[in-house]
């Protein structure tokens, strides 16, 4: 008798309540960030609708003092719009006097008397700006969208009765639409990861490297250090530091100032290393800087590659996750091993599976393992690097604190299980690496296709058996696999409905190569694969190798239905 389907997701009240609060927080935080970024972008995009007009620079300088932020740019300019002359001091639409490392070069380009381009609001001509923010900034909104999506998906998953809210099965099309919707959401999520990771990698990883390479053509120019210090930047996450050095140089009869130390962007922790760098450039020191001959206001003190630039490649991990996820989603959607028949054909069209047998001579077929050892090793290495990469940051902080006599027992205890998991992952990676060199089994079937009720011969060869496989077991199994959502995660249950031992031996000759017989029961179910449910027939090969990772691989066998009469 067929098991009754569980048509309504059963979730406890407590789990639903806590889950609701959790996902509401995700949703609210994401929505707040989306609103804020959206508003910022909209404000910054307005000058793109304004009129572009020539302007004459009246004054330009970097200001500091109690009324201005340190290093604020001040530019005063005059322009004419519809016959009336206006004077403005606004540089950006949302910040009239922006500061930042690049403002010194910006101000030096706009010497008094020079011509610039400004953007005038036609509805309020007294309002004008010198710069327009990049519209690419709008893409930043995709990042908090992840939180909104997670929040909505979680709430829907918790509270939606699902497709089958009544005892009557819902229309078949509804299942296809649900799958299509879910896949769309998965594509979107991984797409954001890829986009954000790609953009951050470009800005913080690739761009600095490109600048280092292009600066090879910059002119070496004598300069003198005006000031140098380690600047502190404090926010809710803590304090970070940056090297601030200002120097003056002369080029083509013009005295200019530069404040760019190297091509490394942003701030970071580690005060000592930056203090050492600053100590090498005391005020008054005469040294050299490198000046862009095409834009003399652009200069840099240190143009070599620095190890901090490698940190800029960290977002590559998110890019890889995003791209990998997109590829995986696309491939899992095609279900290549599904058996299907076109309408009215009456016959069977078998789609070749990626892990299907390789046709060999004489109607034989070689079987491929369901997952490769290299794939397992790379996958585990990836997880290990990711996990230990994050945990190591906290571990370094903790160790430093203990060395300064300020260690926290609470943090130590809290971090312990994470460190233990990280160590277990390292051991796992080492084990998988050794497993790459374990003996491997090559299985060949005596037939190019196998059907229900067939009896076929299986031949095995163990490569690299010099490592000494002491016992070989090959089991032929039929399994059900069912994948389902469990809260916010996915689980797959497996149930073996058939098992046959093809060989179990510790005879060296029989281990190295041999033959056995596979009997597909005449009343069994053929191979089947859909998105969430499978019937899998496979050969499970286990080879015990003393003092080395054992051989343990599954080879899928595609069992076709009985031949039609």
């Amino acid at each position: 008798m067929a098991p009754q389907a569980s048509l309504v997701k059963g979730t406890g009240v407590v789990v639903r309540l806590f889950g609701t609060i959790f996902f509401l927080v995700f949703f609210a935080a994401g929505l707040a960030a989306v609103s804020f970024i959206g508003k910022q972008w909209w404000t910054g995009a307005q000058p793109y609708r304004w009129s572009e007009m020539p302007a004459t620079v009246l004054a330009s300088r970097i200001e500091s003092g109690p009324e201005r932020r340190e290093g604020s740019a001040y530019v005063q300019y005059r322009y004419t719009f519809e016959g009336r002359t206006h004077v403005s001091e606004r540089i950006d639409v949302d910040d009239p006097h922006p500061n930042g490392e690049e403002m010194l070069a910006f101000v030096q380009r706009l010497t008094p008397g020079s011509t610039a381009t400004c953007y005038v609001n036609p509805k309020a001509p007294h309002e004008a700006v010198l710069r327009r923010q990049s519209l690419w900034f709008g893409l930043v909104v995709l990042f908090p969208m992840i939180f909104v999506l997670v929040g909505v998906a979680g709430l829907v998953g918790l509270w939606s009765p699902g497709v089958f809210s009544t005892k009557r099965p819902a229309p078949v099309t509804a299942i296809a639409r649900r799958d299509s919707r879910n896949r769309g959401a998965v594509y979107f999520l991984f797409g954001i990861f890829a986009l954000v990771g790609g953009v951050l990698t470009y800005l913080f990883g690739v761009l600095p490297l490109v600048e280092v390479v292009s600066s090879r053509g910059w002119r070496e120019t004598p300069c003198q250090i005006v000031s140098s210090e380690v600047r502190h930047h404090s926010d809710s996450d803590g304090t970070t530091y940056s090297v601030q050095v200002r120097y003056r140089y002369r080029l083509d009869g013009r005295e200019l100032q530069g404040n760019r130390f190297s091509f490394v962007r942003g701030t970071s922790s580690g005060y000592e290393s930056k203090a050492q760098m600053v100590a090498k450039y005391p005020p008054g020191l005469r040294t050299v800087c490198y000046v862009n001959p095409k834009d003399p206001v652009q200069a840099v003190l240190v143009r070599s590659l620095r190890w901090e630039m490698l940190i800029g490649l960290f977002p590559l991990l998110f890019f890889a996750i995003g791209v990998g996820g997109l590829v995986w989603t696309a491939r899992s959607g095609t279900s290549p091993s599904r058996l299907r028949s076109g309408p009215g054909q009456g016959g069977l069209v078998l789609a070749e599976a990626a892990t299907g047998p390789l046709r060999g001579p004489g109607g034989k077929s070689a079987l491929k393992a369901r997952s490769t050892r290299l794939g397992k090793f790379v996958g585990l290495l990836f997880v290990c690097l990711f996990w230990n990469g994050i945990v190591s940051v906290f571990l370094v902080v903790l160790v430093n604190e203990w060395m300064r006599g300020q260690g926290s027992w609470f943090l130590s205890l809290f971090l312990t299980p994470f460190v233990l998991v990280g160590l277990a992952l390292l051991v796992g990676v080492a084990y998988q690496f050794l497993a790459l060199f374990s003996p491997s089994a090559r299985l060949t079937l005596s037939a190019s296709e196998v059907r229900i009720g067939d009896v076929v011969e299986i031949e095995w060869r163990i490569a690299r058996h010099w490592l000494g496989v002491s016992e070989l077991t090959i089991l032929f199994e039929g399994q059900e696999e069912a994948t389902y959502r469990q809260g916010t995660s996915t689980a797959t249950d497996k149930e073996t409905f058939y098992r046959d031992c093809v060989v179990r031996t510790n005879d060296a000759g029989a281990i190295a190569s041999g033959k056995g017989t596979l009997r597909i029961p005449p009343n069994a179910m053929h191979s089947f694969s859909s998105r969430h449910n499978k019937i899998v027939w496979c050969l499970n090969v286990k080879g015990a190798v003393p003092r080395w990772p054992d051989v343990a691989e599954d080879y899928e066998l595609h069992v076709l239905p009985k031949a039609s009469v």
């Binding site: 389907a5 009557r168 009456g346 016959g347 239905p561 039609s564």
Partner: protein, 133 residues
């Protein structure tokens, strides 16, 4: 098994009680009596999974009636493919059926049946292990 959310749609698979062989043709009687004429009536031959895993489904053949009258009946013929068989396991089952659906209202009715060798569903826990295992 016949199921309908209203009395307005009805579908019957002739000979469903005996079951069907893979590749066999089946006849299906379609009946509808709707308050107004739909844009489309479609009969779909499908399989769906049931059990612990998230449900999957696939339509393998269909018959469309464009701009039908509000009420009508029709007998159609659909051919079953060779697979997948109807089966029942501990985790997963497959059920075959014909679904009749009216668009755009979405009203539907369906009739389920068994397809497999010997006209019976494969019951997985009845498959015995080989001796010695």
């Amino acid at each position: 098994m016949n199921e309908s959310d209203t009395q307005e749609m009805f579908v019957e698979v002739v000979g469903a009680a005996e079951g069907f062989l893979p590749g066999q043709r089946l006849e299906s009687n379609l009946l509808w009596a709707l308050p107004e004429a739909p844009k489309l009536i479609e009969a779909r031959l499908f399989w769906r999974t049931r059990g612990k895993g998230t449900e999957d489904a696939e339509v393998v053949d269909s018959h469309r009636i464009e701009r039908p009258a509000a009420a009508g009946k029709e007998t159609i013929s659909l051919r079953l493919p060779e697979a997948p068989y109807s089966f029942s396991g501990r985790l997963v089952s497959i059920v075959w059926g014909v679904e009749l659906i009216a668009e755009p209202s979405g009203k539907s009715a369906l009739a389920e049946f068994v397809m497999g060798p010997d006209r019976k569903e494969v019951v997985l826990n009845a498959v015995s292990n080989a001796p010695g295992t």
